[in-house]
Amino acid sequence: MTAIIEGRIDTLTAPALQEELTNSWEGVTELVLDFGKVEYISSAGLRVLISAEKQMASAGGRIVLKSVSPVVMEVLEMTGLSNVLHIE
């Protein structure tokens, strides 16, 4: 299953993403998040990714990030999350 995410993931938009993902990952083993159109991710957004990854991991699945832009990649690397999340 692939979810395409657009725009900024910050304090205001993160709860909506969290809800969408919670509804999506039931019964899914591999959730692909297309980050091609994500301009910015804040710490609140990172928390959503971590929560999702933890949930998927406990259910034996995983989250894969696709087409991550350099700006977002920088944040993921800086926070070490690039080592935890699967990035294609």
Binding site: T11, S42, S43, L46, R47, M78, T79, G80, N83, V84
Partner: protein, 636 residues
Amino acid sequence: MKTLFTKRPKTFASKLSFMLITGTLAVIFLVFGLSSLITRKGLINELIASNTARISIFSNRLEKDLKVVEYSVKNRTSSFREHIDDKDACKAIMKEIAEECNVRESFYALKPEVKGKLMVDALKDENGRIRITERPDNYKYQYHHYYLIPERLRRDYWTPPYFTTIAAQRAITYSHPVLDNEGNLLAVMGADILLESLTDSLDAIVANHAPIEGSYLIILSEDGVYISHPDREKIANETYITDARENDSPELESLVEMMREGNSGSETISLYGRKNLVTYTKLDGVGWGILLATPFDALFKRLSKTLILSLICLLLCLIVAGLLISRITWKMSRPIVRYSDASMKIASGDLDTPVDKVSTGDELQTLGESLENMRFSLKEYLHEMMESAAKRESMEKELSIAHDIQKSMLPSGECAVISSNDIEISGFQEPAKEVGGDLYQYMMKDGCLFFIIGDVSGKGVPASLVMAQTVCLFKAQKSEATPLEIVNQINNQLAEGNTQNMFVTLIVGKMELGSGKLSFCNAGHDPMMLMRNGGVESVEMAHNLPAGLFENFGYKMDELQLQRGDRLVLYTDGIAEAENPFKEFYTLARLEGRLLRCSTTVPAELIDEVIEDVRGFADGAPQSDDITMMCLYYKQ
């Protein structure tokens, strides 16, 4: 009365009564106007019928009067012809004729060419005595129309009215041709009748069949001369043509012409300046016309009287009705007035006075109940609102206290700046909300400087709790602890039972003041910047995960040898991600650029310059994230 109509009605009751009364008035006037129109029409029709009946009576009477004269002459024609050469016998016949009641004078005139010229008159004086005379020789009766027309036309003839020579009275003459067996004219015989005697007998009839008051009779001779007219001066003096033209009544002329053609009927025409209904007919024998005129104003005089009387009655009724309507509407609108007062009270904030309801069982009662419900709901709502306002107030108060507590957990007062011979360190924080998730702290322990800067994911109260926990853990460290140990401890403490996946990015550093050796551990935080020899660069460090996510994560520690004059700048992403009104970020590049331009070595001043630049960039746009900055100067 005037004030009643000019004063603007203000209350509902007065408006309603005003409208009802006006409506009733309009309906009454409409009905009144219509009925008066219908009545007028009916009156006219009735008048046509009655005047037609009257005129037939009048014409019958007139014909009868004339026939009496005609018969008194005609009945004696044969006897006269028999004795035409016997003058005395003829005179006796004339006397007989003259003795008839209406006859004033009888005559005969012989045809001069046949019987010799002779005309005999039998004249009745006022006392009824009859005097018989022969006309003198020089009297040329054969040129008079009473002789000429019967002679030429061989028929009876009624002359137009003329003035008699003796009493100057108006009279008309009937003349009859006396013919022999071959149809040759022998003589003309006839009789006069005074117009007065004719019209007097007619007047009696008219009086008996009393037409509408003001009605008058006009009789016209065959030639159009007035025989009878209310204006006696016109009788025998004027014809209808001159009269119509002099008195500007052209309709009279056309009406009489129609009548003379043998028509009869009724017409509405203007006569002597008044509108009249004129009923007319033509007498068969004499060819006279008879007109009965009834002026409309006379006809409607009675009607107007009746109308005015009934109008007064109606107005009286209306006044009574108006009073009743006012009274009823006032009574009916009383609940509305009450409700209006009640809603005014509610609007002014008085929610405790119950609405004065009515039990009319209609919409007014429902309205009252709704009003009462509204008052009750408003009261409850207001109560709830005040409670929630109080709650919010206390919450705000608590938050404000939390803000103070959180502030007290950061370096403040005497500890705000640590300055020794070797170093000076200063920090700054501006939370986006009352309480935030950013943290910084530093302390000196056994010749070592410990510092921490961090950013908890999220904002507000949950973040502030994690922040407090982190600061407490940092502050409780012993001087032997390495940054790695501190980060591990914080990570494990936070990760324990962290269902919300809250995390904190942080850098913990420990500097030995004497040697300038800096050991530090970065848990997913923005790299610190080193200002050395006029340049600015990010410090290379291991990419570790933020603290609080995975227990026993294998963090790595880095080391850096500081040189005297070095300045170390630490910050949270609130600076790089500060936004201006165009949603643009401040960015790390801009921060680097600003740091390059800083000339001061005092950390507090450097921080002030950067914060001022960030605020200038934001240009009033709301601060979306906590802003934290820390600067360490390794003195020369």
